[in-house]
């Protein structure tokens, strides 16, 4: 879906910031009637542009003081080992993101932990024991910003 107009882009941006806004409120903001705004939002959802809602929490205030990005290389490759690895890694609650990538590593993981010693526990007991896991590189997150991306506003 690439035939978006300015109003669609404005709706996407507004909803990515705050999904709790009603179609009526968004319509008033962008000069649309409530049904017109609702139809546009539904179209964006059906096209898969809006993938779903996400509850945004402050990890630190919930006691998760450490976020680590891991690059993981598999020691053995083959279709079966990829499936085994993916099934096991997605089941780890502390692993928030798993991405299969091409390059220096085979997978990128985003892991949260309470502190560094908790991270060490996750790394030793959960990550290093994954089927087929080889080299692992860890980078501890210091700061993060999400950008709005190319919506041209």
């Amino acid at each position: 879906m690439t035939d978006l107009d300015e109003t669609d882009r404005a709706l996407i941006r507004a909803l990515s910031r705050d999904a709790t806004q009603s179609a009526g409120a968004l319509g008033r903001r962008f000069g649309l009637s409530q049904p017109a705004a609702w139809r546009r939002i539904r179209k964006l959802e059906q096209a898969g542009v809006l993938r779903g809602r996400q509850l945004r929490l402050n990890a630190e205030s919930l006691g998760f003081g450490v976020t680590v990005f891991l690059g993981v290389k598999l020691a053995t490759k083959g279709r079966v080992s990829l499936d085994d690895f993916e099934r096991a890694v997605t089941a780890i609650p502390e692993v928030q993101r798993v991405e299969h990538v091409l390059g220096l590593y085979d997978y990128r993981l985003r892991v949260v932990a309470r502190d560094l010693s908790d991270f060490e526990r996750v790394l030793r007991r959960r990550i290093m024991t994954l089927p087929g896991v080889g080299d692992v590189e860890a980078n501890v997150l210091l700061s993060e910003e999400r950008r709005p991306g190319p919506l041209g506003l």
């Binding site: 779903g52 945004r56 205030s61 991306g149």
Partner: protein, 151 residues
């Protein structure tokens, strides 16, 4: 600060953020008023920062996604600040993270196709200040993406 009840609310809400307040308090097994008060307090305390829609860039025609792992020239005192300020001006950058480790900064970049990516890389990434080294990881598939916390 948070008790078991708060965590129960967050667990249910996190697993299904589309729930309305009535459905949420029903799942948690507590009264509507109590749920609303707890949620309002967690919002005031900054524990809950909001509910947002997740944009699927591939559905918008951005089929290429690359994670750039960048090492900066740390002999320059303002390397991080200069680099990040300039990276913010590249529209195709969707995430900027800084690290303690072998990598200094990570940029997540989206592009319509490989030719578009090559153009962004050459004209907007390689021109960013104070880069010592860059490694690229190209996204093949997202296996887990919801970024939930293990509450």
């Amino acid at each position: 600060m948070l008790d078991d009840l708060d965590r129960r609310i967050l667990r249910h809400w996190q697993s299904d953020p589309a729930l309305n307040p009535a459905e949420l308090c029903e799942r948690c097994g507590i009264s509507a008023g109590k749920t609303a008060r707890r949620i309002a307090r967690m919002q005031d305390d900054g524990v809950v920062t909001g509910v947002g829609m997740v944009i699927d860039w591939s559905a918008l025609g951005y089929s290429v996604e690359v994670s750039l792992r960048i090492t900066l020239d740390k002999t320059i005192a303002r390397a991080f600040d200069d680099f990040i300020a300039a990276a913010r001006d590249v529209p195709e950058v969707t995430e900027i993270q800084t690290f303690l480790g072998r990598v200094d900064v990570r940029l997540n970049i989206i592009a319509r196709n490989m030719a578009h990516y090559q153009d962004i890389y050459r004209s907007q990434v390689l021109t960013l200040p104070h880069i010592a080294d860059i490694e690229a990881l190209m996204l093949v598939a997202r296996i887990k993406a919801e970024e939930a916390l293990p509450l």
